[in-house]
Each structure stands twice: as C-alpha cells, then as structure tokens.
Amino acid sequence: MSEPKRLHPIAVLLNIIKSIKELVIPFLLVVVIPGKNEGIPGWIQPLVISIIILFIIGNAFLQWVRFTYRIEDGEFRIESGVFVRKKRYIKFDRIHSIDISEGIIQRIFSLVKLNIETAGGSQADAVLSAISKSDADRINAFISEGKNANNPFDKDKDEVADNEYAAKSSSVFKQTLPQLFVMAATSGAVGVFLSGAIAFISQFDEMIPFERIFKDYEDFIEMGTIILTVFALLALLVVYVLATLSMVIKYASFTVIKTDEEIVISRGLLEKRQLTIPIHKIQGIRIMENLIRKPLGLATVYIEYAGGSMEDKESLSIMLFPLIRKRHLHEKILEILPVYETASEMTPIPKRALSRYVFRKFLYFIPIIGALIWFFRPWGYLSLLLVPLVIFWAYMQYRDAGWSIEGNLLLLSSRFFSKQTLIMHRSRIQSITYKKSWFQNRKELATISASIKSGITSRVGMVADVEEKDCLIIKSWYLPKKAVDSQ
C-alpha cells in the first residue's frame, strides 16, 4: 500500500457539502439578509451567487485531486491542500484510535469515513472522508500490525497478555434493544433536547404571528388552563419520546469487541460508527450512575483514553457500556479490561465529614434563600423548603464519597448529581494532590485528587474530606515502589 491513493470520487460531493455547511452563515449574512438593494443592478446578485457556487465546486474537486494517502515506512502519510500544500505523516505508534463511521451519503455508495486520531492536542488528525470498506479494513489491519511490530517498549502489553484469556475477536458485549430504550429514557438527554427545541421554536417567534393566532382562539384559551396544561404536558411527552428515539438510533446495535490489543466499539443505525482503541492507550475507566439509574441499580461505563480530537466532542468520552446492571459490572470489566477488574469495596469517608458537606452546601444556599425571602416576602418563605432538600443532597454526596486501593488500582468516587467512580491504574496517574484547609486540618481531614490524561486535557478524580491518614496511605501507595514495579 505504498503507492499514493485517492479517495473515492464521492469525496468531491462531501467536500461541497462541507464547504456549504461552513459558508451557510456568512452566505446568509451577505446575500439574503440585505435583500434587494437600490442601485445595484438585478443581475449582480445571481452572478455573485453562481461565482461562489462555481468556486465551491471547483475547490472541492481540486481538494479531491490533491488529497492522497499512502502507507510507508510504518507511517501513514497524507498529502493535501490546494493553495497551501500540506504533508502530514503520522507514525503508527502515535495513533491512538481509529474511528470508522458511515454517514448517509457514504452508506448509499457503501463507503466509509475513516478517522485516525492521534494523541489529543493541537495537531489535527487524519480524516479520509470516503474510502471503500475493504480499504478501510486493510488500513486498519496494517496499522495494528505495524504497531505491534514496532512497539517493543509497550509496557502494558505483558500485563494485558497475561490476563488475556478471552477468545480472539469474540464479541463480548452487546446492548439489547430494550436495554437501549431504558438507557435512552433515563439518559437526561431530554434536557438538552428540550432546551434545543425551545431555542428552535423561539426562532420562529417573530415569523409566526402567535398573537393573532391566539386571538382567534381566545375563547379556546378561556376554556381553562387545564387544557393548556394538558397540551404542555403532551408537548413535553413528545419531546421526551423524540429525544429517547434519537438516542436509540444513535446507539443502536451497540457492540464491543475485544481483540488482543484493541477494543472495537461499533454503534449506530443511520450513521454507523466504529471506533478502535488500542488497549494500552486506555488511561482509566469511569462509572457514572445518574439520579434515575442509581436507584435502579444501573450504571454507564466510560473509557478514559489519551486521544480524541477537539472537533469531535464524542470522541472525548467513549461509552464502553451504555447501560449495565451494577451487579454484572464486575464480570464484564473482567472480560474486557481485566486490568481494571475490581471488587470495588469503597472505604467511606469519616462521619465527622458529614457536617462539612452540609456546611459547604449552606454556604451557597443560605444567601440564595435569604435573598428570596427578603425580596418576595410572603412567597419567599417557600424557599425554606429547599433546606431539607439541600441537606439530603449533601447527605447523598457524603454517602457516595469514598476511595479504595486494590493492588495497582486507585478508585475515587464522588457525587455532584450523578455518582462518579474513577478507576485508575497506578502507572497511569499523572499526579496526586491532597490539600487541607484550616478547618479540615482541625478535623484531620483532607481533600485528595488524582489526575489522569483524558482526551486533550485531564480527568480529575476528587474526594473531599477524606481521613488525613488515608491520604498518606494513598500517597505512599502511589510513590515509593512505583518506579520499580510498573516496569
């Protein structure tokens, strides 16, 4: 595969779509909004528009002509650029993940889009927007092969190989459709969807003469607020169903396949995505239990890995298990990522920390409640109802905070709304910090935090008000023998 290759010609179309997407806002600003200007001949506008369109098409074509890729000397080489020639050479062992996705256009021509991601950072990654499936597979095979060949200093490999007994490329995790529905229904994506919908509708506020419409239906409105409420609830329900469906479509046929060196995650109904992550790039895993899922004994597991790109937010937090029963978690992790296998018995934080958790919440809420009472005199007293709520919240945070050390693993769990448990391997922790304020010092408590690399920045696990002695235990676990036995 050392001869330079071009993308499938359909890439021209994709280029056109891409530049139209980029240009649509400035285009609207320049062409549509000024409308018909006096003094400018009528033929100018169509001319300008057609010149722009011609330019876009020509540019897309040239981009396709100039874009070549090849594999050479253990590197993936891309040359591109119309006016500015770019040559991007990516070493195989710098590649962190391979993401294969199929948009609708790609699917029509049975092509795929291949996204090669390197360590997060400023340098852009390689995107092959349209290549045939067989080519993608070949590149994939080439890269993982090449990586094994010239990656002798890969430390985790022995460890992984030792623990490995799962059959080669056997599918190990599949999300069933009913599970997906539960996952989507409890995801909280509704909130995002709802605010999106509201923003969208408010766009039409000026175009649709709401007031006039409602004037005609004034009698209808007078029929009572009950009907309106029913309508509002119905609308909410529709939004909820839509949000759930869109999540289901996005994560449909979610499958995790484990091979010797890699984890392959594929999902999607309309747009298929397949993500290949080398196991040795995984920095840690994160278990999230949100407000609804936790009482149901369900959790979501994410992979923290050193890769992903800024533009593609999804690549920054990767779901390993969208939804899993907490009691199956242990064996599933053992199956897929044996390094992160834990029994996860957490050491709770001491009782005397509870008052600090409550106090910290009150620090914010007392002024708010005070202000509400002061400004909205009679009704403001209702805000006192927040007090038990806040205490309960603080108690939940206190109860779910904890830490644990198991062999080479450090587990830190804490809660804001959702409970987060971060599982980190000692050889992946970048630094450990513990701090204590004067008040904490008096109670012999401290706040411990550990950071690992995740995406382009870091993921920090933090537990407030841990027993100070425990911080020292964690510290001494982290430091002394470290350099010796992780090698």
Binding site: A119, F153, D154, K155, D156, H280, K281, Q283, A306, S427, I429, Q430, S431, I432, T433, Y434, K435, K436, S437, W438, N441, S451, I452, K453, S454, T457, S458, R459, K475, Y478, L479, P480, K482, A483, S486, Q487
Partner: protein, 157 residues
Amino acid sequence: MEPENRISNKALTVWKISGLISCSITWIISIAVLVLTIIFDWTYWVFVALILISIIQSYLAIFLIPSVKWKRWRYEVRNTEIDIQSGIFVIKRTLIPMIRVQHVETKQGPLLRKYDLASVEISTAATLHVIPALDLAEADELRHYISRMASVEEEDV
C-alpha cells in the same frame, strides 16, 4: 514531613511588588471616585467604602498574603518524584512521579528577570505544575536535573 527546599526569599519582594501593582489599580479608581465626588457633589459613602476596600486589599496583597504564601511554599525534587507544597489558607501537596514528567521549562517575566529569578514549569501529559520563583542558577540546575531524571524512564503517556 514537609518538603525541605524553600523558594528564593527574593520571591517575597517580587510578590510584594506585584501586589503593589494590582493595588494601585484600586487606588486609582478610589481617587478617581474622590475627584468625581468633589466635582459632582456625590454622597461620600461610596468613596469611603472604596478607600476601606483599597486599604484592606493593600494589606492583604502586599503584606499578609506574600509572607504566608512564602512560608507555605516548599518543594523537594527526589530521584523518583517531585513533591510540592503550596497554599495560603488551604495547604496543597502535589506529588509528581519522575516518569510522568513530559518536559520542564524555566520562565522569566520582566519582574523575575530584574531580581534574577525564574519560575520552573513541570508538565506531565495532563497537568502543569509551577514552582514560582527560584534563583536563576538554581532553576536552571533544577530544570536540567528533572529533565535528566525524567528521560531515564520512558513511558507511553
């Protein structure tokens, strides 16, 4: 058992000067308000409040905070790890294993240069840690040392 090295005692002067600079902004605002108060015959309490704030800020930024911060600041670079302690009201201890260090650099702003100081910045793959003020020679030496120790061990991210 605290880390044993302190940062340069000239750092105290540097912090006091930068405190002075940040305070001068509040003082300028206060004086401007005084002038306006006289010209337009405003009520005086705004000005009085501003003066109070300026005085408190000056005391904190020029005297109290630099000295407490300096007393707290300690670091120690051992063969296998870097141990940093900092903080004013909250004492913070950070541990960075040598093998995590990606690169070290020293930096000098105009103020630090005047006093022949430099700050040392230690980056891991995910985090950045700064030792704020060391004598230039010491900073250079530390940079060399850390970079030498860090390159002994090579590890993937």
